[in-house]
């Protein structure tokens, strides 16, 4: 039954995949891709899982395809790096049932550690790529991607960006079509990538790319609109929409099947128009290729490779301008009132520890005024960087900090490495039993799966011991002795893990009474502001205010107060 729904790019893509007979889905949470798996997990027809990391997700999803069912992998852009190993070789093996890999890129780093442009992954891996510019297109392309995958025996990448993934639009949805499983027959030449087999597969892959290019040239996903011929624009993704908004009368070649490049279509379009522009976000992916074809084209200044585009910036590009960076005036994000990470960071700050951090809400501990986290590179890098900082700076000065989900993602291997290589020092696992930053997903340490059903629970304490930690202790993150415990473990000549445990406030909404604030005693020294809690702030009148609506009664500010103006409620 046809129905009009308001869907985000993530949801629309997932809906299209569902209707295309999808039976398996795997992902690791990451903005802006998270909602794809969340949407798919609702359907009984789909075996959907949060995998422990993206490499695992990609392999499990590829395995489902080899078994013969339609399967999907999804992650944010940097997740593709983690999945890079199986992804590269899956271009050689090809697929059984249709297999689609979704990358959701984050130009402007709304919630990411870098701005990599994963269109380059298509060229690097030799996999075809589709790129919708809106949710309605994402819905359509998801269906098309499965057909392409099976027709050409290849994984197909769909690339979203934040402005596609998190834009909602009217989408006309329909019913699911059941697809018969492909039979599995052992085929070592196809699925066993030893050098001899892989060499032959590489030869076949180059031929396949040539066929895919023909398909791209005929594809309805690449559309030519000839209007005013004095200005011709080649564009993809959200950049197409910005250009169309600013230059509604221009001629357009809109690329939706972006790789392999539809060379003949590009040449034909270039001949039709007088002045040719490429309008694309981030890297000069299309621009460089059009130049390689020997076509004279105008494109953006290097300065526009940084950040996302907008209609105003597209106008500037065509005017030949250079981008001027404006400092952001947005409020800084902050840990929730009562967040258990705050008490840990406040203790670490007082201990003046050098802290190797990781990816999650707790990365916010790096910002002023806490400033108690000193490195963040990628998922799992707290444990490994802690190992090296400890060895070089002294293990009594260094602490690693990682969340429970991130520890399972790729912290365990680092801990095994630290033990094996005889490192000493302290790793704190901030165990709030939640993957919080991406909007509260379960993980192996929570004992709940993607469908919300109970499952085997990973015991952090035991896996840390098994990995080779000498001392593993667990403590309530709000325990009064937390700071002393951290200090004690830092001074041990051993590899230590402290599991600082308290449920995430996004899940456990229970609250205690706010502290009693004696305004007369307050000298506005600002010590309580150093804990960086949204519930305690300096008012316009210069006085300190405790916001009872926001406060959940964690009392970290009480421990910060030096003049006895704040007390625990009795």
């Amino acid at each position: 039954m046809k129905k009009i729904e308001l869907l985000s790019g993530d949801e629309a893509l997932a809906r299209g995949a569902y209707e295309a007979g999808l039976k398996f889905a795997a992902s690791y949470p990451g903005t802006p891709a998270t909602e794809i798996l969340e949407y798919l997990a609702k359907f009984d027809e789909i075996d959907a899982q949060w995998s422990v990391n993206e490499k695992v997700a990609y392999e499990v999803a590829l395995g489902a395809s080899i078994a013969g069912v339609r399967s999907i992998y999804s992650s944010k852009h940097v997740g593709i790096n983690v999945a890079g190993d199986p992804l590269m070789t899956s271009a050689y093996t090809g697929v059984g049932g249709g297999f689609v890999a979704v990358t959701a890129d984050d130009p402007q780093l709304q919630s990411s550690q870098n701005e990599q442009d994963n269109r380059l992954i298509a060229k690097f891996s030799k996999l075809p790529m589709l790129e919708p510019s809106s949710p309605a297109e994402a819905y359509k392309m998801a269906k098309e991607a499965f057909d392409l995958s099976e027709k050409f025996d290849t994984p197909v990448i769909i690339r979203l960006t934040t402005r596609v993934a998190h834009t909602k639009e009217n989408v006309e949805t329909g019913d699911r079509t059941e697809i018969e499983n492909k039979p599995f027959t052992p085929n070592a030449q196809k699925y066993v990538m030893v050098p001899g087999h892989a060499y032959k597969k590489h030869i076949a892959l180059e031929a396949k790319l040539a066929e895919l290019q023909k398909s791209a040239q005929q594809s309805e996903l690449n559309t030519m609109q000839i209007n005013d011929k004095s200005l011709g624009i080649i564009a993809d993704g959200a950049a197409y929409l910005y250009a169309k908004e600013v230059f509604p009368d221009a001629s357009f070649l809109k690329l939706g099947f972006v790789y392999p490049f539809p060379d003949e279509t590009i040449k034909k379009f270039a001949k039709e128009v007088k002045e040719l522009y490429v309008i694309e976000e981030q890297e000069p992916f299309i621009e460089e290729h059009v130049r390689q074809l020997g076509i004279d084209v105008k494109a953006k200044d290097i300065s526009y490779r940084i950040g996302e585009l907008s209609p105003a910036l597209v106008k500037e590009i065509v005017e030949g301008k250079i981008k001027t960076e404006k400092p952001s005036t947005a409020r800084k994000p902050v840990l929730c009132p009562g967040c258990s990470h705050r008490s840990v960071f406040y203790a670490l700050k007082k201990l003046k520890a050098v802290v190797a951090g990781d990816i999650g809400c707790y990365t916010l501990g790096a910002l002023k005024p806490l400033e108690a986290l000193h490195t963040t590179v990628c998922m799992g890098a707290s444990v490994t960087i802690m190992e090296s900082l400890s060895k070089n700076l002294g293990h009594d000065k260094v602490v690693g900090v990682i969340g429970d989900s991130t520890f399972v993602h790729s912290g365990i291997t680092g801990l095994v490495n630290a033990a094996y290589n005889q490192a000493k020092g302290l790793l704190i696992i901030l165990d709030n039993s939640n993957t919080a930053m991406t909007g509260s997903q379960p993980n192996p340490a929570t004992g709940v799966n993607a469908k919300g059903k109970p499952t085997k629970k990973l015991i952090l304490k035991e896996i840390c011991k098994a990995a080779g930690a000498d001392i593993v202790e667990t403590m309530d993150a709000f325990d009064k002795n937390l700071q002393n415990k951290i200090k004690e473990l830092m001074s041990k000549d051993a590899l230590c893990v402290l599991i600082a445990r308290f449920p995430c406030r996004m899940i456990d909404r229970s609250r205690q009474s706010p502290p009693v604030f004696n305004k007369d005693k307050c000298i506005v020294c600002g010590a309580c502001l150093q804990v960086d809690c949204p519930a305690i702030y300096k008012n316009a009148d210069g006085k300190i205010t405790l916001d009872a609506f926001l406060c959940v009664g964690c009392n970290v500010c009480v421990s910060a107060c030096k003049v006895d103006a704040l007390h625990r409620a009795q």
């Binding site: 709304q110 919630s111 809106s134 402005r163 998190h166 908004e245 105003a312 991406t438």
Partner: protein, 159 residues
């Protein structure tokens, strides 16, 4: 239906119900048959940071983003964010900040301030009452239907 695209910018801070409000007006526009786009950012920003949602609807909408100086309506839930985002408002645009100040005084339960703001906004938009009420119910996932309806209609009837 005119070719004019209506641009509504919502802004404030995390946890104020801004994204829900933007969802409801978008749903109402969809129910009324408009092509609608709503764009916002999830993830880190929701941790008490700035939240903004761009809603555009009309016969056909291309860009998901409103341009600076292009918003027909600015619906803000926070003084600081209002002042910061005001440059998005077009010359003839409507600033609903006075309605927010009203809402803070009149609405007893802070949870319903976003509903009040939708009621205030509804006075200016060419969207049917039935679509609004249907969207309210869908947007709040069937919770507090009567309370929301009451607050909405009260704000919509005012002035």
């Amino acid at each position: 239906m005119s070719d004019k695209v209506i641009n509504i910018l919502f802004c404030g801070t995390g946890g104020q119900g801004i994204l829900t409000a933007a969802e409801i007006v978008s749903l109402a526009a969809v129910y009324d048959g408009y092509h609608t786009k709503k764009s916002e950012v999830h993830g880190m920003a929701q941790r008490g940071g700035s939240v903004e949602s761009h809603v555009r609807y009309g016969k056909i909408v291309y860009s998901p983003l409103i341009e600076e100086g292009g918003a027909d309506f600015l619906v803000s839930f926070h003084k600081g964010e209002h002042d910061r985002m005001k440059y998005y408002l077009s010359k003839d645009g409507v600033d609903l900040f006075a309605d927010f100040e009203d809402a803070e005084k009149k609405v007893q339960n802070k949870k319903f301030i976003n509903t009040y703001m939708l009621g205030a906004l509804s006075k200016y938009l060419d969207i049917n009452r039935e679509s609004w009420l249907k969207a309210l119910e869908a947007g709040f996932k069937g919770k507090f239907v009567e309370e929301n309806r009451k607050v909405f209609l009260e704000a919509a009837a005012k002035g």
